[in-house]
């Protein structure tokens, strides 16, 4: 506790000194004559926890809550472990308030530890998509995620994006994507009551996409000059399932192994046929993708919304092979890093991504550079749930991104808009179809910038982004 003194003292002085002068206080009373005498022989108290009572639960399951407690019945009352248990429950994100107290037990020397919780909203809006492009005058989508599904800490998420029939082709089927995910971040392996061990990670994702890629090969293509109806295109359908199992080697790490199977189908698009060299990579007719993915994740950031320190990293390797029953023989490598630290008392984030896809990867397993930029100069546009609504269908085999984002905190309060900050960012993106190859006119401007107002709310993070507006609405 004494270690707190110097650090907090500096903070205290800074805050109080900056404040305006206080009004005159009432006179202080003369020192009391009945000041207590020091007790020279304090006896340490040794109570045993007779019971642990958890109250205030409506949605979360009590065994799941107890699993995160560091104390249990029969333990000697250890206040440090009680405090750490309380903080652990708070950090689960399920509760807005956690209080602990001790009551008398059934006989002297025994106590009841009462844990009172107030549950919070765990249903989040994860995606809210609204945009407009030439080939798709209006499209939109929504994503929701229940972060405490069944009251057991599971994540259940769903999202969709719908675009309807493309411009100039009112008879064509609509473009859409639907995704559903289940995630168990910490499935207990040991018997109930065992504490401190890390559990298994399990997950599953299904994805269905019906989309199309315009395949003219030139952004000034004549077919793009009218209503896009005559433009050559690749229409396709994807039905994907991915299962994941993993472990947590450390408190901030995950090691995951995934298997993905996709049934792919090239659909008849009609109209002008595309030149083969302009078509995004996909086998004609029906095909299958079967791939194994290994992922390592680490996240030591101190705050997901406005981190001031820590590292978030992801390293992922994917192998697709005929040996696994697929039609695509390829490998894919992805490395993402983000570090955060304070510069002049304001949070600064550095971001980097490196990616490579080798062999005969289908187009959606390659890299779409606009996904990594704040906005794209030219026809490209970041995809929505893997649907591309732009006229740029270039998917590259190599990608590199470097960026920084500076944050200016605006407020923090107990309200719907709990926190807000102004983000100023810049990114550079390089991509190429072959290693060391030149950029094309589709993505010749590598730099993008961002000015955004980011808001932390109980239902998600709202991002009023100038870059998004430039790309999607203007």
């Amino acid at each position: 506790m004494t270690a707190l003194v110097p650090a907090l003292l500096a903070l205290a002085l800074g805050q109080a000194a900056a404040a305006p002068a206080a009004p005159e206080p009432p006179p202080i009373a003369a020192p009391a004559v009945d000041a207590p005498e020091p007790d020279l022989s304090p006896l340490p108290r040794r109570y045993t926890i007779e019971r642990v009572v958890v109250s205030g639960l409506h949605h979360a399951r009590e065994p799941e809550v107890r699993r995160h407690l560091l104390v249990t019945e029969g333990d000697l009352l250890d206040e440090e472990r009680v405090l750490l248990s309380r903080l652990r429950l708070l950090q689960l994100g399920w509760f807005s308030k956690v209080e602990t107290r001790v009551e008398r037990g059934s006989e002297r020397g025994l106590v009841v530890l009462v844990v009172e919780v107030v549950e919070r909203n765990t249903l989040l809006v994860t995606d809210l998509v609204l945009g407009s492009t030439g080939p798709q005058p209006i499209y939109g989508g929504l994503g929701l995620s229940q972060q405490n599904f069944l009251g057991r800490g599971f994540g259940l998420s769903g999202a969709f994006v719908y675009g309807g029939s493309p411009a100039g082709r009112p008879q064509d089927p609509g473009r859409f994507a639907v995704r559903g995910s289940f995630f168990a971040p910490d499935l207990p392996l040991a018997r109930r009551g065992a504490r401190g061990e890390r559990g298994l990670v399990l997950g599953a994702t299904v994805l269905f996409v019906r989309g199309e890629e315009l395949a003219c090969g030139d952004p000034d293509c004549d077919a793009f000059s009218d209503d896009f109806g005559a433009a050559p295109r690749l229409r396709y359908q994807r039905a994907s399932f991915e299962g994941t199992i993993g472990i947590r080697p450390g408190a901030f790490e995950r090691l995951l192994a995934s298997y993905r199977y996709e049934a792919l189908r090239e659909l008849s698009a009609g109209g002008t046929p595309a030149a083969p060299e302009n078509l995004p990579a996909l086998r004609p007719g029906r095909s299958r993708l079967s791939a194994l993915t290994g992922t390592y994740e680490i996240d030591t950031r101190d705050d997901f919304f406005l981190p001031r320190e820590g590292l978030r990293g992801l390293a992922q390797v994917t192998f697709g092979s005929r040996v696994l029953g697929g039609d695509y023989e390829y490998s894919r490598y992805l490395l993402q890093l983000e570090t955060a630290f304070g510069l002049l008392d304001l949070p600064l984030r550095l971001q980097a991504t490196l990616g490579a896809a080798q062999g005969g990867a289908p187009f959606f397993e390659r890299f779409y550079p606009a996904d990594l930029a704040y906005f794209a100069v030219g026809p490209a546009l970041a995809r929505s749930l893997e649907l591309n609504f732009s006229t740029d269908s270039r998917y590259d085999a190599f990608v590199a991104m470097g960026g920084l984002e500076y944050a200016v905190p605006l407020w923090q309060r107990q309200a719907f808009f709990r926190r807000g900050y102004l983000a100023l960012g810049a990114r550079g993106v390089y991509s190429s179809q072959v290693l060391g190859g030149a950029r094309t006119r589709f993505s010749r401007t590598p730099v993008s910038a961002e000015l955004a107002l980011r808001l932390d709310t109980p239902v998600g993070v709202f991002n009023a982004s100038l870059g998004y507006a430039v790309d999607n609405l203007l």
Partner: protein, 217 residues
């Protein structure tokens, strides 16, 4: 675009929301054996409602920091820190209090019979050692106090933090969606509010010779 820029500008104009202004601090300064001691009235930090917290049967910590600050300056001329640990014994129904400060870093122990006594004990901070009389500023100064109830250290928060986030998009990491409402992949890493209470106080201005004459209000 104009609407968006206007919204961003308006948000920026709100500026940072500072902590609330300090409450008035009734204080008395007096010399004692060549040093300056202050007596402070911190009762505003301990309303009657704190009985529920301090009576929870677990150790509660009150950290009190006092500084002497020359008027018109932000740099303190003298500092003092005191940590009070309070433990209500559910079987004895008494409050065991330990006070630690630079003069007694190992702590001085008291046993108080009820909450009224505890509240009085906490509210009337006496013997606040502000250093030698000669070290006080030669210009008018005031006292600032910060009272924290149950501060949680960064180290304690770090010890409990784990990466058990639910990725909002499930297990699939490629093919991102950049949306108006961004994904919250690490929602569960949210920094919790451990519920600490912080109170700031500021006294009236004292003349340079006030300590020698035992001035105060």
């Amino acid at each position: 675009m104009r609407h968006l820029l206007a919204a961003l500008g308006a948000a920026a104009a709100l500026g940072a929301v500072a902590a609330g202004p300090p409450e008035p601090l009734a204080a008395r300064v007096a010399p004692r054996a060549g040093r300056v001691e202050a007596s402070l009235d911190l009762s505003a930090a301990f309303p009657a409602a704190t009985e529920r917290d301090f009576g929870n049967g677990l150790t509660n910590v009150v950290a009190i920091y006092v500084s002497v600050v020359p008027d018109g300056s932000r740099a303190p001329a003298a500092l003092y820190g005191r940590v009070v640990e309070i433990l209500f014994d559910v079987w004895e129904e008494t409050y065991a209090v330990t006070v630690k400060d630079p003069r007694a870093p190992q702590g001085v122990h008291y046993v108080l019979p009820d909450f009224a006594a505890l509240r009085r004990f906490l509210s009337e901070a006496r013997g606040v050692d502000l250093g030698p009389v000669q070290a006080l500023p030669g210009a008018p100064y005031h006292l600032e106090a910060r009272v924290e109830v149950n501060p949680v250290s960064r180290e304690q928060l770090q010890r409990t933090r784990e990466y058990i986030a639910n990725p909002a998009a499930g297990t699939r990491t490629s093919g991102g969606t950049r949306s108006v409402l961004g994904a919250v992949a690490s929602f569960l890493l949210r920094e919790p509010d451990p519920g600490s209470d912080v109170h700031l106080f500021r006294s009236r201005s004292f003349a340079p010779g006030a300590a020698a004459s035992g001035a105060g209000r």
